[in-house]
Assembly symmetry: C2
Homo-oligomer: 254 residues x 2
Amino acid sequence: MTDELNEPELAETGGKARLYVTDDLGEDVAVTLDEGQTHYLLHVLRAKAGSLVSLFNGRDGEWLGEITAAAKRGVTATCLKQTQAQHGTPDIWLAFAPVKKTPSDYLVQKAAELGVSVLQPVFTRRTIVARINEERMAANAIEAAEQSGRLSVPEIRTAVSLEKLLVSWPTDRRLLFCDEGGDAKAMTQAARESRGGPTAILTGPEGGFDPAERAALRALPFVLPVTLGPRILRADTAALAALAIWQAVAGDFS
Amino acid sequence: MTDELNEPELAETGGKARLYVTDDLGEDVAVTLDEGQTHYLLHVLRAKAGSLVSLFNGRDGEWLGEITAAAKRGVTATCLKQTQAQHGTPDIWLAFAPVKKTPSDYLVQKAAELGVSVLQPVFTRRTIVARINEERMAANAIEAAEQSGRLSVPEIRTAVSLEKLLVSWPTDRRLLFCDEGGDAKAMTQAARESRGGPTAILTGPEGGFDPAERAALRALPFVLPVTLGPRILRADTAALAALAIWQAVAGDFS
């Protein structure tokens, strides 16, 4: 799976690579691409001077670019014209207890496709995974953003404990807490209530939240406990289902 | 990932294995478990005569069972009492163009957790995957059913071509066709319209449906084209997002 999930299929749109860059983009601006992008363009796509690429940086929209120097040390692309203006996306965070390596890869990839704006790993009491590979998460998020046609890349936040997260929580942001409790609201209803305001989804580890965590969360005014149906979902399934339903009801799916 | 996804974590509920069997279940009925289940109980869980298990077969609800013979050739469990009566679940099929091995494993696992009733692999013109491992799909579906607390296992249908599928389609079953077309309905609206009736979701391969397929689908009276938002979703992401949204709006999530 690691191979299949991460095989080098940088996004192509009509045979054209779609690449995330950090430099500013604008008419006639030349951008030097990084090592991985250069390798991909020269050795996988066999791009040459004159080949077209698509570029975005999360700020300046999407640009059609032309390769103007196919140097092995770094391909240069020059912006020809803007193909999409930058536009806002729903302000939806996903705070999630990290899971094992491959389900984590999968979760980051899928959440990026589903339009998450911030990914916040959270250590809870029952979280088994002890280390987070933030670079790997960032690489997965960028690749998914390139492939999915997003104009931005989700921000990967540094992992924190649940306690720390809640103490410093921006209280105007609704936190939809995916709970197993019987009195939790349906996700559709919670999404309708959070529509239009900053929102986050919180999902737990495989073993769920412990009773003290559940009680602490339920006592907070910005927390809305939500249910995802009668079955027990894996941690990554719950995160993706919650995000998809939120986007469909309150986000940009319609 | 194959290892992580398929590692032998048969479902445990409070340390008790939860197992799918095909035999009838009822008070005092003794069931002989299969080779894999026997191995798991004896060598992973170290179960003995007197250990408790949880059993379901898709017809007779869920039963608490006790191991009455811990033979290496086949553990026998005897039903003590019914812990859940059998109940109906939403009648939702997923017809999907098969993807590569690991994303397929993932798709089957997640769809089973999300409560799909039938999984129908469909070959479309742009489907690259040529062979389907139905046994592997069935094993993934059973494992996910055991873990998720379902009382039934999704049925895996034999793969067919899209043309064959449509010719023999039961016309009273709405087919929500996940399309990229601009005029498609929002998934929430389509789910509301299909609520209460037999429904299926259809998702394409990585390259999408071809124009002739899209036209043929759109001409059918039982087909409802739906959109899953402005981003390009991978085939497995689209299937899971569609299923989650349908369950939230028209299924058993609320």
